[in-house]
Point group: C2
Chain length 138, copies 2
Amino acid sequence: MSIEFDNNLPIYLQIMNHIKRQIVSGLLQPGDKIPSVRELAADLQINPNTIQRTFQELEREEVVETKRGLGRYVTSEGSKIMAIKKEMAGDLIHQFIHGMQELGFKNQDIVTIVKEAVAVKDNTDRKGASPDGHIAEG
Amino acid sequence: MSIEFDNNLPIYLQIMNHIKRQIVSGLLQPGDKIPSVRELAADLQINPNTIQRTFQELEREEVVETKRGLGRYVTSEGSKIMAIKKEMAGDLIHQFIHGMQELGFKNQDIVTIVKEAVAVKDNTDRKGASPDGHIAEG
DNA sequence: ACTAGTGTTATAGTTGAATAGTACACTAGG
DNA sequence: CCTAGTGTACTATTCAACTATAACACTAGT
């Protein structure tokens, strides 16, 4: 595992989101064992206390379950994972649409821009073409 | 002016983005005077030093211009403002699409979800109806 | 028992954001 | 000249994130 860190957001939150994404995307399945505190700390070159805090937060959100002396595991409750996924997606959507509206874009513009963006992404996926990042004017 | 602050991001960055949004959306026009350090500090109940840092960063990005002893003004260069707008929109789009893909959504899903979201928004705008936050499954 | 690997707790120190307070420099206007 | 309002600079302090290090508790396997 490797994460590109953003200095403007606490590390423990970034690692939290990283793990939650791995879970809701299916990369980590319900019941799967997640790395130990010391293992992940060494892997990410982060202090074990910071990882411990990350895991405590994940447990507070019921995303992982702890078996003392054994390790931590992804919650086996699929409904909880689905709820987390909806919450994370909802946050992304709200942040995006609200942000675009604040920049002066209208709803119709926003839909158009998203269509263009994923179209460019599809092209790069298929042909490896270089996108120019063009954005429709608001 | 009033801003709802997020504790996980430095205040000076949040105020920066707030002002940049006001500029690129046209709420603040090129050449407009922006609040003084002390005025904005009192208005937002924030320490003047923090506001000073905010403005210094905005000046470094050439978003505002300083006339010592007089005040600060929105840059008169429309091209610079347009560039900032594209940059901010591009960041939002990338963050959104990349984030949704990490959650396991396909490009087609993403377009559909955005259409639904703005449709709900339009309904609330017109009729004041209560949205249920429904999201299509990935 | 012993060991290795796990989670847990605790203390101390470093760093950067934010605050509090003060003082200085520049500009316009009376 | 003097005042009010502006930007600028500096020191000291508080607080949270993060680090460094160590110790303790639990579990499985030998």
